[in-house]
Amino acid sequence: MSTRYFGQPVKRNEDARLLTGSALFVDDVELGGMLHAAFLRSPYAHAKIVSIDLQAAKARPGVIAVYTAEDLGDYWQPGPLLVPPPPVPGIVFNLRTQVPLAKGVVRHVGEPVVLVIADSRYIAEDAVGDIYIDWEALPVAAELEAAARPDAPRVHPDIPGNVAAHAHQKRGDYARAAKDAHLTIKRRFTYDHGCSQPMETRGVVAQWDNKADKLTIWDTTQAPVAIRNGMAAMLGLSERQVRVIAPFIGGGFGPKIMMFYPEEVLIPWVAMQLNTPVKWIEDRAEHFVATTHERGQIHDAEMAIDKDGRILGVKDVFLHDTGAYDPYGLTVPINSQCTLLGPYVVPNYDSVFTAVFTNKTLVTPYRGAGRQHGVFVMERLLDIAAREIGITPAEIRRRNFIAPDAFPYNHGIIYQDFTELTYDSGNYEPILDQVLATIGYEKFLAEEQPRLRAEGKCVGIAVVCYVEGTGIGPYEGAKVQVQASGKVSVVTGIGTQGQGHFTSFAQIVADACGVDVTNVEVVTGDTDAFYWGAGTFASRGAVVAGNAIGQAAGLVRQKILATAAEHFECAETDLVIENGRVSLAGVPDHSITLGELAGMANPMRGAVAPGTEPGLEATSYFGPPMGATASGAHAMIVEVDPETMMVEIKRYAVAHDCGVVINPLIVEGQVQGGVAQGIGNAFFEDLVYNEEGQLLNASLADYLLPTSMDVPRMELTHTVTPSPLNPMGIKGVGEAGAIPVGPLFAQALEDALQLPQRGVELLDIPLSPSKLWELARGA
């Protein structure tokens, strides 16, 4: 098998459709007689619904139906638990899930209360304005620490202190390690990871065909198979009666894998009730309150080090804001807890968190999925330690890396995939060396910085490291088939968020089946085509689906060879597959196209031999026992205007290891996109709530996504430590860029403004010019 495409910067198959506006997104679906939905959403963070007056709304011309919780009858039920709590000994977990429409009480601004169905979205919004609700405001649990107090207003009446979960993981004996330490460093850190804001908001279109007895749902979901299975169960249909299509998705980043959102659950039900297609498209104002966030944690963390800066142990007690409900379990805080360990040897670890309900939008994973918070704590502790003992931030990291011969490296605590956190492979020092070389670390510290400082410029440099657990199970599957046209189709359950699956998957198949990559048709996100799989999230698509596809394509290759060998009456080893043809080696004229071969494998007469299947098709599944660990380092040089505190990024470097690479262009794009979101998180994006749980900046004018002038050109390098956990040696890369940017900014800005020397430390993310100025004034 040649590897003509694997590893190459192949241009994307899907681009022509996207570039010409001919790709289908959910809001592009137009069906005859389609009705439109709008919701009345709670304007209060916590309130009783005393009464609802729908008279005027129902009387408005063009309004077809109006629903409250009572109208749903038996269909009304709280949503399912999506991710069970991991098997951490002694774990406490209180499940409270979202409901389709609020009944009696609302628990966050934006919680849906009334659903209006009308001839147009315009009229539906008019009708929402007609609705009068008598509210009784209740005390609000807004700020995280306040919400965790035993006497705080209760988000759920039976849960004092708003405890959603409590989990304690430890390895070794931190207390003893701290006793012998040269130094212990103790700080409070806060980290807020905002929200995802993809350019495409959510949406659902549902069509019930009562003659075909079939429900079709178009949904901006990252998990079409799970949605199909769940909706079928909820609606009392068989799975085969429900087709979920996740077409082109305009960015997901995690919150589109939150499942059984109220709107997702309601729109198909309404379509069946009314026997008419129904569309709901979330607008941006809704998105700020109705789609999940990731938000914040407060860490009281401590690190014990020896005189050389080696970590003896880390202790961390943290609070995690989980919002009003917790259907997605503890993925985010468990990731924080585990990813804090980073690429370092941490002989003793004691980490305990309390997940806390608040009267705010739900919290579920968003690109990085809690890793950011843990990485911030570790990287900042290391920076403080480095300063205390007088070495550079680069040097302290170097001294603490896990050695390259220590893999697989088991940390002995439980990870989000329920296995023990084990790094499969890695080699961290070369990554650090690469990024330091790219940014010119030593030379900057020794020459450039002193020179620029003498000119009055405030310039700083920073470097941070991290690992990223990727490619977790449970599994994905794929079916590869050579068609009569000679094109090869590959169908998989995993969908797309824009990360190039139509190309990277095609590259794998093209190599195995000997066809041009543009002759591979990738079908994803259609449960009629393939209905097994978990979804696209957690940097797992290339690893898990990619390997399933590789296996299936390999099986098809065997069938091609076997069928052709029979046709040519030769040995399989005499055959060459190239450019869509199979030929005898050295005799190119003696060949047959793959399409013809596929026809031969699907005879109209005769018999298909027992134990074989017709056609050139194979289905295969891949389920890795645990995740593959990617890693990286970021470095940055900044200049700060000391009067305005405006920051300019002068250089940005990334060294990354995501194992074997399928398409370097796509990997670059993922890293760059991740870094951009990291820059947003570190310095621009800030969800500002008041004490009443109201989001004060619920628009893109005031929640600041970075623009082309805020994101610098990046210098990317990479190393490869192949994963031993999958045949292709791949690791995921989707989230990497976003993970370490917070501590990178903190380190760089402290350096640029020489803050620690002035008695100021940056222990909170996000930062901003105003926050910097307030922290630095008087120092």
Partner: protein
């Protein structure tokens, strides 16, 4: 002047991508919705409906504007250009579109039509831009996927190819 005679709906005749259309719509219908749902030209995307993200950018008499901040009735008698009017379909991309494909200048593709309409007009006015100028011209279009670098590369490549003798 009479205060009666204001119709609930207004007739709009306009040209889109060189073709004339006439429809009768409520005055409040946004141009973005008109293009997408009245005319079925779904290439223009809606991202925010408050003029910030740029996904809805089209050309109004050749000038990039936010179609979410324009009422369809205001386009009466004017010429609108959308992404569907660039190139000749997926099989024959324009120089600008091809450069985006070449440079991996899109991931999910949702912001892309708005960026193409903005940058096509920009390149017509600035055939030899610096990177800084490209970034500034791009700053009114938000992208959440790419981090902008490959978009900038694509625009610079397109500029180069156009100078060498292509049509945008």
């Amino acid at each position: 002047m009479s205060s009666t005679g204001f119709a609930d709906e207004v007739k709009v005749s306009l040209t889109v991508n060189g073709r004339r259309y006439t429809r009768t719509v409520e005055p409040r219908m946004l141009l973005a919705d008109f293009l997408r749902h009245e005319l079925g030209l779904t290439g223009t995307h809606v991202g925010c409906e408050h003029g910030v993200c740029g996904a809805c950018t089209v050309q109004f008499d050749g000038q990039p504007v936010r179609s979410c901040l324009t009422f369809a009735v205001q386009a009466q008698g004017h010429e609108i250009s959308t992404v569907e009017g660039l190139g000749e379909g997926p099989a024959k991309l324009s120089v600008l579109q091809e450069a985006f494909r070449e440079c991996h200048g899109l991931q999910c593709g949702y912001c892309t039509p708005g960026i193409l309409m903005t940058m096509q007009a920009f390149l017509a006015q600035h055939p030899d831009p610096s990177e800084a100028q490209v970034r500034e011209a791009l700053s009114g279009n938000l992208c959440r996927c790419t981090g902008y670098q490959h978009i900038v590369d694509a625009v610079l490549l397109a500029a180069k190819n156009l100078r060498a003798g292509g049509q945008a």
